[in-house]
């Protein structure tokens, strides 16, 4: 019986591999590799996965440091079979790695052996009871940031394995509903020996990286077509050294692909062309009513343009309606996102010291996110264009991962929000 099924299994596997979903994990320093994998996915007709359950394969871009071990292992455990993994640290390794993934997914015997040898139910899932489903404690209430209704408070880490998210960034948030009450920033660094390779990547690719960040914001905002345009531009803007992947000769609907292939070598002309296209894209984003609506440009009238931080602090510490603080923070942040997005698409903008800028942004991030909902927080993080690979050793030490046990220590960080207590519920 099993023998006769072989041809059917092979046909199904080959059919499935044609649309392989690949989960991308970007380690600090793996930017160029990630961009190359994304390009190769498009060329193969594969797609990027949004989570391990959605993925057939996982590709780690860059060289992870020790702090990544647990995260990568858990990601692998959560992938249903057939599954395959690869790791690339340079664009030139990408075609071989993807070939390897396809071969591994097609190797039916190995996939069956893998499925037979693993626990299909994780070892740490307990039976639990009503108060401890699967052995987990129930979420508890906490004095509420919004309106005193004491919604359950959840500790939700965002990153590092998250699409459209800076490499290695972990944002340990405490959520009340969908609103961030507190947040703590950690960075999972790349392997130390590899970190200097980020330096050459940093030299000529600033335009490309800002276009990449813009594409992430646009994807998160749901503007997939504009995002795809930004990705095309990013690839055209990549320095030739990072573009060692040869684009296949397959015809592409976009004229930019031909731009990418034809003007190869004509560096200055090409850069000029990319700038012009970026400016055009910026105009398109600026004019788009849907994007303006999605980023709630019109709602910002409440916050005064001049006294940004001061008035925010004053509002946040006023004992008034905390729900309004939340709504206000959300509106303000969405407006920031739009401003940042237009800045990313500005071809004349310069980013002289991304390391210092990223450190400052990371330090300000926890306070900035209080009262902001998760979606807006993700938009903001993407729009900040955080370059975790540009951080120095002392920066990384400042954001080193800590054990979860000192979660209580967070109270000091987010104490401001916590101090407000609505004793009375509605009614």
């Amino acid at each position: 019986m099993a023998v006769s099924l072989r041809p059917l299994q092979r046909v199904l596997a080959r059919w499935a591999v044609r649309g392989t979903a690949v989960l991308l994990v970007e380690v600090p320093g793996g930017w160029a590799a990630r961009a190359a994998v994304e390009r190769a996915l498009v060329e193969r007709g594969w797609r990027a996965a949004s989570s391990p359950a959605d993925a057939d394969a996982v590709v780690v871009c860059g060289t992870p440091g020790e702090s990544w071990g647990e995260v990568l292992e858990r990601t692998w455990e959560q992938m249903p079979g057939p599954r395959a993994r690869a790791s690339v640290s340079a664009p030139s390794e990408v075609p071989g790695a993807l070939e390897g993934l396809a071969a591994s997914l097609l190797d039916d015997d190995a996939q069956r052996a893998d499925a037979a040898s693993r626990d299909l139910v994780p070892a740490d899932v307990e039976n639990g009871d009503d108060m401890h489903p699967a052995g987990l404690d129930l979420a508890g209430g906490e004095d509420d940031l919004r309106d005193g209704l004491e919604m359950d408070v959840l500790r939700v880490p965002l990153g590092p394995v998250l699409p459209d998210w800076p490499a290695g960034l972990v944002l340990r948030t405490v959520l009340s509903g969908d609103v961030v009450v507190r947040a703590r920033v950690e960075v999972l660094a790349g392997a130390a020996a590899r970190r200097d390779s980020a330096d050459d990547a940093r030299r000529g690719d600033d335009v490309a990286r800002r276009l990449d960040a813009a594409a992430q914001v646009l994807r998160l905002a749901g503007a997939d077509d504009v995002a795809a345009r930004a990705v095309h531009l990013r690839d055209a803007a990549l320095p030739a050294g990072l573009r060692s992947l040869s684009p296949r000769s397959a015809p592409s609907p976009s004229g930019l692909r031909s731009l990418l292939t034809s003007s190869r070598g004509a560096g200055a002309e090409e850069a000029h062309e990319v700038r012009g296209e970026a400016a055009r894209l910026r105009g398109r984003v600026e004019r788009s009513r849907v994007l303006a609506w999605a980023l709630r440009e019109a709602d910002v009238a409440t916050s005064s343009p001049t006294s940004g931080a001061e008035s925010d602090a004053a509002q946040a510490s006023a004992p008034g309606d905390l729900r309004d603080v939340g709504l206000d923070a959300r509106r303000r942040t969405r407006d920031d996102v739009r401003t940042l997005l237009l800045g990313l698409l500005d071809p004349d903008a310069r980013d002289d010291d991304p390391g210092r800028r990223t450190r400052a942004a990371l330090e300000a991030l926890p306070e900035r996110l209080v009262g902001v909902d998760v979606v807006t927080a993700r938009l903001l993080v993407a729009a900040l264009d955080l370059r975790t690979d540009a951080l120095g050793d002392d920066d990384l030490a400042a954001f080193a991962p800590r054990d979860d046990e000192d979660e209580d220590g967070d109270e000091a960080d987010g104490g401001d929000a916590h101090a407000h207590h609505h004793g009375h519920a509605h009614g």
Partner: protein, 122 residues
Amino acid sequence: MTGAEATSGWAGLLAVLVLGGVGVTGAFAVHRLTAVAPRGLTAWPWLSGWHPSEHALSRYHARWYPVTVVFLAFDVEMLFMYPWVLVVADVGLSAVVEMFVFLGVLLLGVLWAHREGAFSWQ
């Protein structure tokens, strides 16, 4: 003639059922026989690579007061308007005035619910 038509109708239905049943069973059988692990994988909720620290059984508050007021304002309003429609022509102007005073009172509730954010989902 009509009997034959009825029979062919039933035959068609039977064919659809049989074909559908064979199709569904076949797809299920192919899945059972070809999947590397037909039982499927049990996994923790995906938290960007981390283990969940608590279970979110009741994350969102339903906000009963605004919900109740919105229900009263729209549903009960309709409830009273059905019988009112039947008599309004006979009773005349006073019935119209009374109904709109009633609607006005309910509208206050809607305004309150609006102020409480019952209509702004986020």
